[in-house]
């Protein structure tokens, strides 16, 4: 239950309010709300004015501006009054106007937005403002308005231009580079063609060379064969010399046997003695064949050999023949020189030189024909000199004696490959040196290996 005093207080306060003395007892007024709305509007207006975009409100029925934001005035360099007083034509080029009129010709709001266009606006101060603009229709209190928003695209334009420039430069560079590359490619192609041609030519040349080399080799083989045949001929002569004496002895022995029998002096002892002698001579002859055949057999592999031994063996082959021709051979050796090489070929060289010396001595008809063969070591190399006293070689042809097919001999006597082949054997095969020089009365051939 409420106490009477409470009720009275309540009554009193309620009465006060009814009288209209309450704090909230206000006559109806819209002003506070209006003020609030005005503030909102002012804020919004500031927002629009501060926007970077130029905003225009176009009254569609009259086709004129009825409002414009601060930003538009600033960017166009016009006062608000100017913008509102001037026709659209003053601000837009013809193409943009046509576009705008088409949009504004609509009788009501469109449900879709038209695409913005890029155009320019004319400033009051002269000059142009590049803009991207779009227009949207709105109905407000049954009137149709166009809200045009123009965005200043100067910076974008600059950026686009810069980009375009860069693009152009890049394209230019690419074009240049492409041209360079094309040039290089063409050059390379030409070079390649040339190379191919050269290669082809080289191939042809190589083939020709190969053929020539084949021919040369064939020639060499023929020369060597010829040389060998000549040597064989020589050898046969030598063998004939070697064998004549033993054959004579054999004949004497056989005759001795016959004479002994006739004289009655034939005895078992004599027979045995003579058989012994015959066998010894036959053995010698057989040995001679071995020596010659060995001489003509080419070496297969390098071998370490003693120079002295080769000299003795070689001279043994021709000793009889030379003696027969009254040519003396002096041999002197020191240091026991040794060579790692091909002993048979080496011997062939010695033989060739000795034969040349013999021919020269025979031709010069020298009284005391003599050949000196000396051997020694010099600077870790073996040196063998063969010196004759046949009068020497004329200076003008001394340089040519090692050339192939060069000969001073009468036709049919020499092959002209002897010294060339010898030089080849010593220098190419064994890495040595073969040289010739005149002494006072003859020629000295020097073999260094």
């Amino acid at each position: 239950m409420k106490k009477p005093s409470d009720i009275e207080e309540n009554w009193e306060s309620q009465r006060e309010k009814i009288i209209g003395l309450g704090e909230r007892s206000l006559r109806k007024t819209y002003y506070p709300e209006l003020q609030q709305k005005l503030d909102q509007l002012e804020r919004f207006r500031a927002l629009l004015d501060q926007s970077n975009d130029c905003i225009f409100l176009i009254h569609v029925p009259t086709g004129s501006f009825i409002d414009v934001n601060e930003s538009a005035c600033r960017q166009l360099g016009c006062s608000r009054q100017e913008v509102l007083a001037l026709p659209l034509e003053r601000f837009f080029p013809e193409d943009a106007l046509a576009w705008a009129r088409e949009i504004l010709a609509a009788e009501r709001e469109q449900e879709w937005d038209r695409d913005a266009i890029t155009t320019r606006m004319f400033k009051c101060s002269g000059g142009e403002l590049p803009v991207e603009i779009n227009i949207r229709l709105v109905t407000f209190r049954k009137e149709l308005y166009g809200v045009a928003v123009a965005r200043n695209i100067t910076e974008r334009k600059l950026a686009e231009e810069a980009l375009q420039r860069l693009n152009n430069e890049l394209e230019q560079r690419i074009a240049e580079r492409t041209a360079d590359l094309e040039e290089s490619r063409t050059k390379l192609e030409t070079q390649n063609k040339e190379l191919q041609k050269t290669y082809h030519e080289l191939a042809v040349e190589t083939t020709a060379l190969q053929r020539a080399m084949e021919d040369l080799r064939e020639k060499d083989r023929m020369v060597i064969q010829q040389s060998r045949m000549a040597a064989m001929g020589e050898m046969l002569g030598n063998i004939a010399h070697q064998w004549r004496q033993p054959f004579n002895v054999l004949g004497l022995i056989v005759q001795d046997l016959g004479l002994s029998y006739e004289s009655g002096e034939f005895s078992q002892e004599l027979l045995d003695s003579n058989i012994g002698k015959v066998m010894e001579i036959l053995l010698h002859l057989s040995q001679t064949i071995d020596d010659f055949s060995n001489f003509s057999t080419p070496d297969k592999e390098k071998a370490l050999f003693k120079v002295d031994q080769v000299i003795v063996k070689t001279i043994s082959l021709i000793k009889e023949s030379f003696k027969n021709k009254h040519i003396a051979i002096d041999i002197s050796s020191s240091d026991d020189p040794q060579i790692n090489g091909y002993p048979h070929e080496y011997a062939q060289v010695l033989l060739n030189i000795l034969m040349n010396a013999r021919d020269a001595l025979l031709e010069s008809r020298k009284e005391n024909a003599r050949i000196a063969v000396r051997a020694w070591n010099e600077n870790d190399r073996s040196v063998v000199t063969i010196t004759d006293n046949a009068g020497g070689i004329k200076t003008d042809i001394l340089g040519k004696i090692f050339e192939p097919y060069f000969t001073t001999k009468d036709l049919g006597k020499g092959t002209g490959v002897g010294l060339f082949l010898s030089k080849t054997i010593i220098e190419k095969n064994m890495g040595g040196r073969l040289s010739a020089r005149n002494t006072g009365d003859g020629v000295e051939l020097r073999i260094e290996v």
Binding site: Q14, E23, R27
Partner: protein, 388 residues
Amino acid sequence: MKEPTEFALRKFVAPEFIFGIDARKLTGRYAKNFGARKVLVVSDPRVMAAGWTDDVIACLREEGVECAVFSSITSNPRADEVMKGAELYQREGCNALVAVGGGSPMDCAKGIGIVCANKRDIIAFEGVDKVELPIPPLICIPTTAGSAADVSQFAIISDVQRRVKFAIISKMIVPDIALIDPVTTTSMPAELTAWTGMDALCHAIEAYVSTAHSPITDLFALQAIRLITSNMLPTMVELDNIVLRGEMLLACLDAGLAFSNASLGAVHAMAHSLGGLLNAPHGECNAILLPYVIEFNFPAAPDRYREIGKAMGLDMDGMASRDALSALVAAINHLNKQAKLTYTLGQLGVDRGIIPTLAEKAMHDPCIFTNPRQPRSKDIEAIYEKAL
């Protein structure tokens, strides 16, 4: 000699109003001046039928103001009707209100305005000074000479669920303009003329004896009493007499200006309670209750009741209080009788059993706070019982 209490703080709020023949025809001009683009015209079927609504709509259209009409209103406007009207207002995109009719359409229009401006259910605004935001522009064209809602800060709404009529009292809902045109009252039948006339008399008497009365409200209250006493019965005879209608409408306006500022008393508190519970006609309830409330209140303000008696043409000089009261009550009963308002609450369907409930509700009605004598529940119950 006046007492210093005569100069306690008082406020007087009245809307701009135009009183006179064909005042209604200014509706279009005013709507336009208020910035109205589209108005919601709130009316009721009776007024619609009488043609006043169309009359007003034509005025509006003439000025290029669009209209939407809301007329689904019962005689005591209900909260749900208010909400429906508000919904229509929003849906139609209205920005102003025009009420054409008696108390019901005008109160309903006020309710719609409150809801639209404050965006809450109308029930939330029961009481004094609960309306925060001003309602949209409201133009009232009264077609009865009773409620005076066109000049008052009152709106009475029925809450069907709680079965009460609640009062919304706020300066925010005082209309922006009242176009008070006697012509619109000529369509009232005699019976309605009597009910509304007695309502206006109650306004004037209660305002005069209200504890919130002021010297200004007193002027209007007494003048209203004089005009009603001398014009109500003749008007019932000559319904088309525009002068009598004008006098009655002027009386109603005077009473309205008085009670809107001085408020009312127990008669209205108890009538609201009856109206909410039984949907009883407001004017009839007032007429039945008035004599019994005067009997109860008289001791608290005998001099004021004597002044009322004088205004009614009674000679009470030198009369004992008891006799003065008796004379006053008799005069009112006489008026009721002449106006054929001879009902009792019992005839309106009031049962003795619901009296405590009625009393309880009346005790919470804002009108009770300015009653010259502060009643207790049982006092109210006793009055109801007498009126059975």
